[in-house]
């Protein structure tokens, strides 16, 4: 008989703890904020949250706690659609936020709700080379020289790799003034020099940084700086003359924020990202601030002479068009890589 009692006691405890967890996450609805973000922004938002909590306290007297969530940008968008209760999303691509909009959780026109297409900070593609730059790589031209080993992920499988590819395309367009054959020829030579075509950006970084493969890694500026920080004195960053401008998008998840009564808080959370203090935090975490004055203060970190091309530039014409011309089966990438 004793055993049975113990058994039931254990069951009861388990159920009670489970119930406890649930009520824990449901209470205190108005002063809790959930920010669903993507992988390399963990430290950025850790710093920013501290700043914002102080700001909100000064402004309203309320204490607020911010919960962060990080993962692959696409997977994070999916989790919000399937029920991860985010008050705000701060994702890598406009495309991912649009997916949440299509599920009916974010109102149309979110791109114009905040300044600079709702992108408070930007980033671009740069070259990470080994200390002393032994292959003397200065610009995209140098990448097609014989004997240069390039590491970049596969544009077919990696979102980040598409940016790398497009940055090269932008250079080729500038150099050959839109001559299709010469541009394709350049791309062909570029990808002939690719040593390892990893399936994802993280894998490519590991291949270059940890496994010591290749002479140059095409990487996000912010991630290149993180590699410098992790391995001081081993690498250098080279900024090419031309590259792409990536705008990580932010949005209030209107439907969830309304349900939880956090609309105002959520809006201020994103608005405050544009304040000079927050812009500095972004710069300290290696994202380019959109505030011109702050950006100038960090001119030693970010090369401001780079020409940066937006995805909506006529050269690209937005993601849908880029996908169709470059990355579908039989598209330009297939043409230049298979032969």
């Amino acid at each position: 008989m004793k055993k049975r009692i113990i058994l039931f006691a254990v069951l009861l405890v388990a159920l009670a703890v489970m119930a406890g967890c649930k009520s824990d996450s449901e209470s205190a609805s108005s002063t809790q904020l959930v920010n669903v973000s993507y992988d390399p922004t963990r430290e950025l938002y850790q710093d920013y949250n501290e700043l914002f909590i102080k700001h909100w306290k000064e402004k309203t007297g309320q204490d607020v706690t911010v919960t962060q969530s990080h993962g692959g940008s696409g997977a994070q968008a999916r989790s919000v659609i399937e029920g991860n209760d985010a008050d705000v999303v701060t994702l890598a691509l406009e495309y991912d936020v649009t997916a949440i909009e299509k599920a009916g959780l974010i109102s149309k026109g979110w791109q114009n709700k905040f300044p600079h297409d709702s992108a408070p900070y930007t980033s671009t593609i740069v070259f990470l080379v080994r200390k002393g730059n032994p292959k003397n790589i200065k610009d995209w031209d140098d990448l097609i020289k014989p004997g240069v080993g390039i590491i970049t992920p596969n544009p077919k499988t990696s979102g980040g790799a598409r940016w790398n590819y497009l940055a090269a395309w932008a250079y080729a367009n500038e150099k050959y003034q839109g001559d299709d054959t010469q541009m394709k020829d350049y791309m062909k030579k570029l990808f002939a020099n690719v040593l390892v075509l990893d399936s994802g950006a993280r894998g490519a970084t590991t291949t270059f940084v940890e496994n010591g493969q290749g002479d140059v890694l095409l990487a996000w500026e912010n991630e290149a700086y993180l590699s410098l920080k992790e391995h001081p004195g081993e690498f250098e960053i080279v900024s090419p003359s031309i590259s792409v401008l990536a705008q990580p998008s932010v949005a209030v998840v209107d439907k969830i924020a309304e349900e939880r009564g956090t609309s105002q808080l959520a809006e201020e959370y994103l608005n405050y990202l544009y304040s000079p203090e927050a812009q500095k935090v972004a710069a300290e975490n290696f994202y380019r601030p959109t505030d011109e004055n702050i950006l100038k203060d960090y001119a030693d970190k970010f090369d401001l002479n780079m020409k940066l091309v937006n995805i909506n530039d006529p050269l690209f014409g937005g993601w849908d068009k880029v996908q169709e011309t470059h990355f579908t089966d039989g598209g330009i990438f297939d043409q230049i890589y298979s032969k």
């Binding site: 008989m1 049975r4 069951l11 388990a14 703890v17 390399p40 962060q68 970084t205 992790e230």
Partner: protein
């Protein structure tokens, strides 16, 4: 040295190299990477509030799933070996489903059933219950993926023992629970413990299914394996490996327990 002993030493060398490359080297890499930035950096990572929370959540989810699966596993094993002879093949297959299904699929099943776009959502909404992207979901998928372990380790022993002793006890007027306590339990004790250890090990390390339903909320729904991935993807190699050492340590403890149980089980048989 004869020809036979040459083959012997060759095989021993080959298997030693294999074990070194496949097991010892990765373990050494984990340790060396974890301590790359020194002991104090390692201690900082382990005493971080988020790491401690992840450890607590992992242990909690493991504890609840092991308790649930022990109770369910015992009932199932008992019923399948003692009563449902004709249907037992089918039911046993049913229990094995979590072994066959990829954990990611298991996570998606739960997400699509209990999530915002799932069919159970209207009912859950009425009672304001949140299952996926909360601790409840993590516990549920962990129970799901570890479901077969205990039933599967107890069933062979019950099969082999047969029902004679229990029938005799029943004829003498013993009640169900007395039969279980006095006759069945002593036989299956070691098999049960063995199953519990395997179940614990699997529950602690579960990644795929938990990753789908977690939502990765820091300090709320991040388990240790998920935290390792997040740190790794955030270019925090040393931190990721430092957190991994917790999992390695827990695994080693379980491994030792498993060996003790195996040893005792053997001596109990003799």
């Amino acid at each position: 040295m004869g020809k036979g002993s040459f083959t012997k030493y060759l095989l021993i060398t080959l298997s030693s190299i294999f074990i070194f490359v496949m097991l010892i080297m990765p373990l050494m890499v984990i340790l060396s990477e974890a301590f790359k930035n020194g002991i104090s950096a390692y201690a900082d990572v382990l005493s971080d509030a988020f790491t401690l929370h992840a450890l607590r959540l992992t242990l909690f989810a493991t504890f609840v799933s092991v308790v649930c699966n022990t109770i369910f596993g015992l009932f199932a094993a008992w019923a399948l070996t003692r009563f449902y002879y004709k249907r037992s093949k089918f039911l046993t297959t049913l229990i094995d489903i979590p072994f066959a299904i990829s954990p990611v699929i298991a996570g998606l099943i739960f997400s699509l059933t209990f999530g915002r776009i799932g069919w159970a959502q209207p009912i859950l909404n009425i009672f304001h219950i949140k299952i996926v992207f909360a601790v409840t979901g993590i516990v549920l998928v962990t129970i799901f993926v570890t479901l077969p372990f205990i039933a599967r380790s107890v069933m062979p022993v019950l099969h082999a023992r047969g029902t004679e002793e229990e029938e005799a006890a029943a004829l003498m007027g013993a009640g169900g629970f007395t039969i279980f306590r006095k006759i069945t339990f002593p036989h299956i004790k070691w098999a049960l413990l063995y199953g519990i250890i395997l179940c614990t090990a699997r529950a602690m390390g579960e990644f795929g299914a938990v990753s789908v339903v977690s939502g990765h909320l820091r300090g709320k729904t991040d388990t240790l394996p998920l935290l390792v991935e997040i740190l790794y993807n955030d270019f925090k190699m040393a931190d990721a490996f430092a957190v991994s050492t917790i999992l390695v340590l827990l695994a080693l403890i379980l491994l030792i327990l498993k060996n003790v149980v195996e040893y005792k089980w053997h001596s109990a048989k003799e």
